[in-house]
């Protein structure tokens, strides 16, 4: 069965390390649905890369093993095997006529988004949440007139133990 997996990769921040990861995926025919990478700031010269991929269990097993085999990779976690929270963010520029402004603000409010830029003819709106939530807001804004959409990849974190 094909499943979506969110994999978190801790890696050493060396030149070319990202192309080692993406080259591995393209060279072996694995699929990347989204990818997000940034220094963690928790430790010097260490970055965290979150990628979403899908595949049968055997493929996912190969992906995690192959990632781990890269010399610059510190740790690989298949986050979706655990309880986790995931977020992505989108910036959406929508056409804002006097007649539609109130409607836009209502929709943004429902999704707990924020208006981050205003011009006489448009709003830029920020929303964060799971991929589904971000998509739902975009779908609702679409009839109003979307001019531009920028989405990040997913980032994810395992939930802490609930035990005291």
């Amino acid at each position: 069965m094909k499943h979506k997996h969110t994999i978190s990769v801790l890696l050493q921040n060396k030149p070319g390390v990202l192309s080692r990861v993406t080259g591995l995926f393209s060279g072996r025919g694995f699929n990347i649905e989204s990818l997000s990478v940034s220094p963690t700031l928790q430790e010097k010269d260490v970055s965290c890369l979150t990628l979403v991929t899908s595949g049968e269990d055997a493929i996912i097993e190969q992906i995690t093993k192959q990632l781990h085999k890269l010399i610059d990779v510190i740790k690989v976690t298949d986050i979706s095997e655990k309880e986790y929270v995931e977020r992505e963010m989108a910036l959406v520029r929508v056409k804002a006529e006097p007649s539609t402004r109130a409607e836009i603000l209502r929709i943004v409010d429902i999704f707990r988004g924020r208006v981050v830029d205003v011009s006489p003819k448009s709003f830029a709106v920020e929303v964060t949440g799971t991929g589904d939530k971000v998509k739902a807001m975009i779908d609702l804004l679409r009839p109003v007139g979307i001019q531009e959409i920028i989405r990040t990849g997913t980032i994810a974190m395992t939930r802490a133990s609930k035990k005291y």
């Binding site: 050493q12 030149p15 070319g16 192309s19 093993k65 085999k69 010399i71």
Partner: protein
């Protein structure tokens, strides 16, 4: 201690016990060559093409069991190494390739002889480096050797910009390399060893399937002990040949596409398959669903990605083959439930069955009196060298006949480009092997097509007075492709006839080597004897039957039991 980077470079090589390197100079490495000229400890072998430098370093590494080294210049020097690097990567051979690079200030400017070799070789090296800061040079070289030789061995490339090599660096005393992100697993999990042994003891029809990992891990003694203590028949991959004595009664020779009938039948019918340092390559498995369909599969490999990649494994053991086999032998000895005599007794019917298969379809060929058969040449080479020569091969029919008929009894005596299948590997490899083992007889079993891919190395062999022997099995065809065209493309011999070829005898003489030719079976033995008695590079041109095929053969994608036989 402050010193020139080039001096530190050579000191680093000495520290790794490197005494021979293969290379070709150029503008970006001219500083290094300036120091190399004065080195008393490191011998530089000047090849005539950079690809040959890498193949020679590869074979040198295989013979010695150490890391092989190549040194080339930037741009085309670097790109010419790619085939050699990719071959070493497929075959897990420890080499370090040093490339010159344009000065750091010019990188990215499309400078003369600039190429992003780190980018190009990323997918075919175990790891690679661009040294941008002279302060990193010494540590990087040490890491490169460490990565190449440990875990699953492989090629590492280090790119050295010209200005970095012209700088002064601080040479620090070596200490053990400790990398946070790279710690291969050598010791097997005791629970998995126990599970594997308990599975083996239940087996009535076990088979050991042995790959190049046994040779890389120097694990042949442990393997032989396991096989002989329980009478388990052994089959080997191309890379595993020599890992178990080929003339031992438990040896079934090679398996897979051109494996023996009995190896493939044994694997198809076994109840426990013990894979040791092998990777279930498509040339071995044929149709995956029909590969060892009734067997519980135990797989020992140091590389976790090899396990369950192609074939689902029941009992994985991630470990160095030597450690894992030793642990299994130890478990079997210590554990009272293992009655080795009873185990041997239990395997008698299985060994009998294999003998029946062997008698039904032994390895063989149709003998002829007036035309030389290639298999006969390989048999004669075995006979006249006592089976003790180091054999290298090119790729194609010559490679398969060598694998089938030389019956390797010793590890580190067979060098072939197994995974990548590089035509042109064998001759430079023979040069590397001869330098690694000056007292051994080294023979490149070649075809008339593939020998021409690195024929220029005759100059290297001659210059270094290497008594390498080349046995060309000359059928004036690109024989393996011709065989496929014969079988699957209605004998449409598209671009496979090689009617225009050099006169190999004259060619040898042009280089100051010796050329010999045999056109009749009766001439084979005298030619080989004369070649072996000659202290010079020799080409033996054996004019063989033109349309001889390699059999058995499993057509690509078919089950390994669906063999075409002689």
């Amino acid at each position: 201690m402050k010193m020139r980077a080039t001096e530190a470079f050579l000191k680093c090589l000495e520290e790794q016990n490197v005494d021979t390197i293969f290379g070709f100079p150029g503008g970006a490495v001219i500083d290094l060559y300036d120091d190399l000229y004065d080195s008393k400890t490191i011998k530089h072998i000047l090849v005539r093409h950079e690809q040959a430098a890498v193949h020679a370093a590869d074979a040198f590494a295989r013979v010695r069991g150490e890391v092989g080294v190549a040194l080339v210049t930037s741009g085309p020097g670097a790109t010419n190494t790619v085939t050699g690097i990719a071959s070493a990567y497929c075959d897990s051979i420890p080499i370090v390739v040093f490339c010159g690079q344009v000065p750091t200030g010019l990188i990215g400017n499309d400078a003369f002889q600039e190429v992003d070799i780190v980018g190009i070789t990323r997918p075919c090296t175990k790891h690679n480096y661009l040294v941008k800061d002279p302060k990193e040079l010494v540590a990087t070289i040490r890491e490169a050797f460490h990565i190449a030789r440990t875990g699953r061995p492989g090629p590492v490339l280090v790119d050295l910009p010209k200005d970095v090599m012209a700088a002064k660096v601080d040479f620090t005393e070596p200490k053990p390399v400790n990398m946070r992100t790279y710690k291969p697993t050598y010791e097997p999990h005791p629970g998995q060893v126990e599970k594997a042994c308990k599975t083996i003891v239940k087996a009535k029809k076990p088979v050991l399937y042995v790959g190049g990992g046994v040779i890389a891990a120097n694990a042949w003694d442990e393997l032989t002990e396991l096989a002989r203590s329980l009478d388990i028949p052994v089959t080997m991959t191309l890379m595993g040949l020599g890992g178990f004595p080929g003339t031992d009664s438990l040896s079934m020779g090679m398996l897979g596409m051109h494996g023996t009938y009995y190896s493939n039948m044994a694997v198809a019918n076994c109840d426990v398959l013990i894979a040791v340092g092998a990777r279930f390559d498509d040339r071995v498995t044929g149709k995956i669903s029909a590969f060892a369909p009734h067997a519980k599969i135990i797989h020992i490999d140091i590389d976790p990605t090899s396990i369950s990649k192609n074939v689902k494994v029941d009992i994985p053991i991630v470990a160095d083959c030597k450690h894992a086999l030793a642990a299994m032998n130890d478990y079997i000895k210590r554990n009272d439930s293992f009655d080795t005599a009873a185990e041997k007794e239990k395997h008698v019917p299985w060994l009998e069955q294999i003998k029946v298969w062997k008698n039904e379809h032994p390895l063989g060929y149709v003998e002829e009196t007036d035309v030389i058969k290639p298999q006969f040449v390989v048999q004669k080479l075995h006979e006249l060298t006592g089976g003790d020569a180091i054999i290298t091969t090119e790729v194609g029919q010559n490679q398969m006949w060598a694998a089938q008929f030389y019956h390797f009894n010793h590890p580190r005596h067979f060098m072939t480009s197994g995974g990548l299948g590089v035509m042109g590997y064998g001759f430079p490899a023979a040069i590397g092997a001869q330098l690694a083992a000056p007292d051994k007889v080294v023979i490149d079993i070649a075809g008339d097509g593939s020998i021409q891919m690195n024929i220029q190395e005759l100059a290297t062999a001659r210059h270094n007075k290497l008594p390498v022997k080349i046995a060309i099995l000359n059928n004036s065809f690109l024989g393996m492709v011709r065989q496929w065209q014969e079988l699957f493309y209605d004998k449409k011999y598209s671009s496979t006839p090689l009617e225009t070829a050099p006169d190999f005898v004259l060619l040898a003489e042009a280089y100051g080597a010796v050329g010999l030719r045999a056109t009749k079976p009766s001439e084979v033995e005298p030619v080989i004897k004369e070649a072996l008695a000659t202290d010079n590079t020799v080409i033996m041109d054996f004019v063989i039957s033109r349309e001889e095929g390699v059999y058995p053969m499993v057509p690509a994608g078919k089950a390994t039991t669906e063999m075409l036989l002689v």
